[in-house]
Each structure stands twice: as structure tokens, then as C-alpha cells.
Assembly symmetry: C2
Homo-oligomer: 334 residues x 2
DNA sequence: CGACGCCGGGCAATCGATTACCTCGCGGCG
DNA sequence: CGCCGCGAGGTAATCGATTGCCCGGCGTCG
């Protein structure tokens, strides 16, 4: 466990630590012969630089922090994978944290990332207002870009999906299928995208002449369990709507499960739609109609914006709403 | 973006940096009055300690690294969540990396974690032999525990599931259901658990008089896509076995999808089983019979072993094979 | 032939927090 | 009254790598 330091490498070769550092990093011209000797010695001693010391001196860590509300939600894991992939090209690493949908935990993660001097942060904030303090503080300390969700009143870039367009796609599809009444199952209105999805649902359903079923606006959380429960509530009501629109795929999968258990035939008795197009959306019973978020592009843009922010100090803020696409499957009769 | 250092806090209060450090960490007795002043000043200046500098001096980071083969596989995300949860109690953080099933990337992640001086590493190694070098090097540098999979020839603790017992549960269940022939769809034999599962399948199926279907040992990778493809191969064969046993739930979900698309009725024409019991196993068409891994316990044990390893230097190695439990659902007629 | 520039390489400051060791002052005790 | 112990707090070394500045030597050019 004894770590070998640059000093020992230098001693073995008979040069100064400065030369070893330069030889290994290639920062300044060092004679090829010495470089080779240093390489040799480092190899033999099993030397690897102490990243902490290096980070302290350079005040860079070549690491980007990412904070997501949940690490078990496949939508976020796809996003994480995309970011990691995008970072790889620039030889940087990802430090991933989960805030577990808890603003306090989120604040703690952010403090920790800042303390660890990550070069930048990619965050999907938990809450539209309760996350504001921590996020804007962090944004003041280092480059930060929000993805998917955002908190208001923070000076930072944002990349996500065009929620309004997504709801338009979904509702126009449902209208074509002859839907006259619909329910909307979502999370509590605590995040930007949730609000936009609800607003989009209301706007486009009104425009298309689709009525909201009585008791049909169900707000809980983004989870399979909530989808199950919400559908149970709808089943307990006087009559079913023509369609249930869900604010994410997990909710929709829960809804489908309860339908199957309760003898409701999808799509014959009821149409169901999701949001995100997670890999499991194609595997449910029946396969789920949903809108696909361009996760790869979102991730790539986020990394690009971060790189921009590191280079230039002051820049105009970017807010990129990328376009979703409709994926029709059997849950709407596709 | 200008970071405020301990020196500025000290200057403002009119004490030395040593006192500020002690006041904030509570390491040594400092008069309450001074502690309060320091708190005040730190608050006003927005001071937060530089974790890098602190880590360099203390050579501890209060951070544990975790490396998993895939971050999109729900089994691993559950494991990660469990580890994060377990760490929380001791006030430590998790630094998560994905090796993407690539031994080279895995080695890089390990080097990076060691360079960053994490206090310990939890890893589920990619490959039974190709991971050996990097893992055993890392295990020599700092406390390391393997979870789920392990590489041979490395001195480290391991926690996972009793694969043999799991296959026994599954095959006894299938035997009770009258299964006489079965296929086994798994990953290539590149990891310990894969080997153990295949061995367990062979041993217990032989013991129970279940024959391996011709061309029924299909080795690919742990993914939905491979499950789909493997089932297509089985469909292309002369006849179907009574059951398809899969080495993880993702594979099984792919198998089920192809069955649905190909008109094979599960469980009427064919029984299908998975492994892990990921959340989506209950949502497929039909819901999947599988064995549940005790992820929470695995994670908790891993963290406990790590803590032990940090405290005591030399200890006997632990290899904990925890017991799985059978979860019967409709895919075997449950 | 002298001066200048360039190149390889060394010295030592530096990043920011922690901490071993020291000092000072005060109270108690022999 | 002198000495000791103790608690509060300061001084400065330390963690390990990086890098600005400097030096000596050699090649080149006027």
C-alpha cells in the first residue's frame, strides 16, 4: 500500500522531480533519452501520479460531476451513459451522484462536487424551487449546465426536450385515434418539465377537443408504483376515459400493470401513452406508445456547453429544447 | 468564481489558519467564542474547504469508488443504490464509474480511482481473466471488495449470490412443472458468475432428469438484444424445448419479446425464467419468473467489508455467497 | 571571436488544509 | 514563592506534483 512518489522516480533516474514531471506529461522539451529512462523507472517502481496533488496544484481535475434525481430510472441512466460517452473523447471522467429526489441530499452532493473541484457539473435538478439555492450557488462556483429539468432563476445553460412539442405529438396521435376524454398521470408539479408537460397537455387537449376526465389529473411521482396507484384510482371512479397519458414511461408501465391485473384491455378499452422511450417501454404488455427523447443529443450538447463555459467566461446563456419523436406501439393500437 | 480560502477566514477573524481549521473540524478544543466567530466569518465569506487540499494532507477522501460493467442494467443500478445508501450512514460518498464491459476501460477507471485516492473500491469486474491485472493491482493499492462477479487469483473479499443455489431453485421449480428439456441462454463464459450459472444449470438439470435441448446452450451477452436473437435461433431450430432458462432478466425479457412476436405462447408453449428480479421483470408479457438476488444485503455487506479492511490491515478473506429466493410469476404458469 | 538564442534541466515556490510541536498565561499545589 | 500542568492558540512543516524562473552549455551568426 505504500505509494511511490515522483521523488523516488527522480532519485532512481538521478534527475529532479521537475524533469520527471515534464517527461511524463510531455509539457516541455525533455531529451528523448531521459524520457525513456523516466518511463522505465516509473514502470519498474509502479509509479502512478497522485491525482490529488496534481489537482491541487493545477486546480483542475479533468473530472465532471453529474447529479441526477434517480439512478434507477432508465431515462437518467441513458442520459448518464450519453454524458460519459461524450466526455470520453476529451479524456475526462464522470463523477456520478444521485440526489434521490431529495433537495437536501442534492445540495450536499453539489457541495461535495465543488469541494472536490470538479471542472464542471451537469445536473438535472430535483425541484423547481427548492433546488434553486444550491444550484445557483454551484453555478457561481464553476461551469454548470442543467439537463432535462431546470430550476428558474439560475444563470446557467440548459438542454432538454421540447415538452410542449412532445405533448402535441402525443395528443394529436390520440385525437387521430378518436380519443375524446383523457386522464393525465404525472408527478407533483415540482419540476420544470413536469409543469411544462401538464401545461402542454392542457393546451393541446383543449385545442383538439379532448376533455379531461373527471378526477383525471393525477399528480404523484415518477415511479412504477405511482402509475399503479393512479390507475387504481381511475378504476375506482365512475367511468374510464378513452386514454391515459403519462408524464413518463415508468408511470405508464405501472398503469399498464394495473390494467392487466384489473382486466382492462389496452388498447381495446383504453389507450395508454408514456414519455421518454426507455428500453423497457417496448417490452411491456402491450408495448408502450411513447415519445422518444433524444438522449444522446442532449448529453452531447450538455458536454459541449460545459466545454464552452470552461473556455470562455461570459457568454450568452443557451437554452436548447431539442425535438422529440413519436414512437407508436400497441398501447394505442399501433 | 474566486474561491475563498481558509487564510481569508483567519484574517477576518484575526486568528491563525490552524485555529480556523480546528474550529471548523472540532478536532481540538477551541474556545466557544472563537468557534462562533469563525463560523460567522466562514458563513459571511461563503467559505467552503478545498477538499483537494484536505485530501492531500490527510490522504483520505471519504469517498468510495465503484466500478460496474454497465450502468443501464437495472441489476447494477440497484446494487449501486444499495451501496450508496449504506455509505451514507458513515458520511461517505460514492464515486461511480462504468466500465462498459470493456477490460481496458475498466483498468483506466481503476487507475483513475486510485489516483484520486478514494478510500476503497467496490467492483463488479468485467471479465474473469482479463480483469485480473488491473483488479489485483488496485487491490494492492487500497481496500477493495468484489461484488456479484469476481476474478480469480486476486486477494480480495467478495460478496455475491449463491449461483448454484439459484439454479437449483429454478430447475427444481421447472422440474415440478413437468419440464423435460430446457435451453440455457447466457453470456459468454467470461465472468465467474456466468460460469457458475452454467455449471449450476448443467449439474441440477442432469440431477433432475432435464435434458439440454439440441443447440440449447446459447452464449452471448447480458442484454435484451441477445435474448431476442437467441430466441430467434431457437425458433429456427427443429423443435422448441419445454423451457428457456436465462442467466439474467434482460436476456429473459428479450426472449419473451421474441416469443410474443413469433406467436409462441408463454407459458402454454414454453416456460421462461430470468435471474436477478429487476423491477421490470414483473411488468413483462407475461410477468417473469426469476430468482431474486438480495441486492440490499450484498451492498451492505460490501460496505461493511470495506470498512473492516480499512481498519484492520491483514485479515482472512471473506467470500460471502448470499441466498437467492425464487419469485414465481406467469412465465412459468405461476 | 564574441554575443546571442535556444535547449535541457534544476531550484524552489506554490496550491490549501492539517497537525506536530511549541509558547504563553493562568491557576493550583508543595 | 516557585514549579508544574493544562488549555488555547500560533508557527511552520507537510502532503506530492507542477511550473516560473534561472543557469550553463552549445551552436550559430555577424
Amino acid at each position: 500500500m505504500a505509494r511511490v512518489t515522483i521523488r523516488e522516480v527522480a532519485a532512481r533516474v538521478g534527475v529532479s522531480t521537475a524533469t520527471v514531471s515534464r517527461a511524463l506529461s510531455g509539457a516541455k522539451r525533455v531529451s528523448p533519452a531521459v524520457v525513456e529512462q523516466v518511463r522505465q523507472a516509473a514502470e519498474e517502481l509502479g509509479y502512478s501520479a497522485n491525482g490529488i496533488a496534481s489537482a491541487l496544484r493545477r486546480s483542475r481535475t479533468d473530472t465532471v460531476g453529474m447529479v441526477v434525481p434517480s439512478i434507477t430510472n432508465p431515462f437518467f441512466t441513458s442520459l448518464v451513459e450519453g454524458v460519459e460517452h461524450a466526455l470520453q473523447d476529451s479524456g475526462r471522467q464522470l463523477f456520478l451522484c444521485s440526489s434521490r429526489s431529495d433537495p437536501a441530499l442534492e445540495a450536499q452532493r453539489l457541495r461535495s462536487l465543488v469541494a472536490r473541484q470538479v471542472d464542471g457539473i451537469v445536473i438535472s435538478p430535483v425541484h423547481g424551487t427548492e433546488s434553486t439555492g444550491a444550484v445557483s450557488w454551484a453555478a457561481g462556483e464553476l461551469p454548470l449546465v442543467q439537463v432535462d429539468r431546470y430550476v428558474t432563476g439560475v444563470e446557467s445553460d440548459w438542454v432538454g426536450v421540447d415538452d410542449d412539442a412532445a405533448l402535441r405529438l402525443l395528443l394529436e396521435h390520440l385525437a387521430e385515434r378518436g380519443v375524446r376524454t383523457a386522464a393525465f398521470v404525472s408527478s407533483e408539479l415540482t419540476s420544470s418539465s413536469t409543469e411544462l408537460r401538464v401545461a402542454g397537455f392542457q393546451e393541446h387537449s383543449a385545442r383538439l377537443g379532448i376533455g379531461l376526465a373527471p378526477g383525471g389529473m393525477l399528480l404523484g411521482e415518477y415511479s412504477i408504483e405511482w402509475g399503479r396507484e393512479a390507475m387504481q384510482r381511475l378504476l375506482a371512479g365512475p367511468s374510464l376515459p378513452d386514454a391515459v397519458t403519462c408524464a413518463d414511461d415508468l408511470i405508464a408501465l405501472g398503469v399498464l400493470q394495473t390494467c392487466a391485473a384489473g382486466g382492462v384491455r389496452v388498447p381495446d378499452d383504453l389507450l395508454v401513452t408514456g414519455f421518454d422511450d426507455i428500453p423497457f417501454a417496448a417490452l411491456s404488455d402491450p408495448p408502450l406508445t411513447t415519445v422518444r427523447q433524444p438522449q444522446v443529443e442532449i448529453a452531447a450538447e450538455a458536454v459541449r456547453l460545459l466545454a464552452d463555459a470552461e473556455r470562455a467566461g461570459e457568454r450568452p446563456l443557451s437554452r436548447l429544447a431539442l425535438q422529440p419523436s413519436l414512437v407508436v406501439r400497441a398501447s394505442t393500437g399501433g
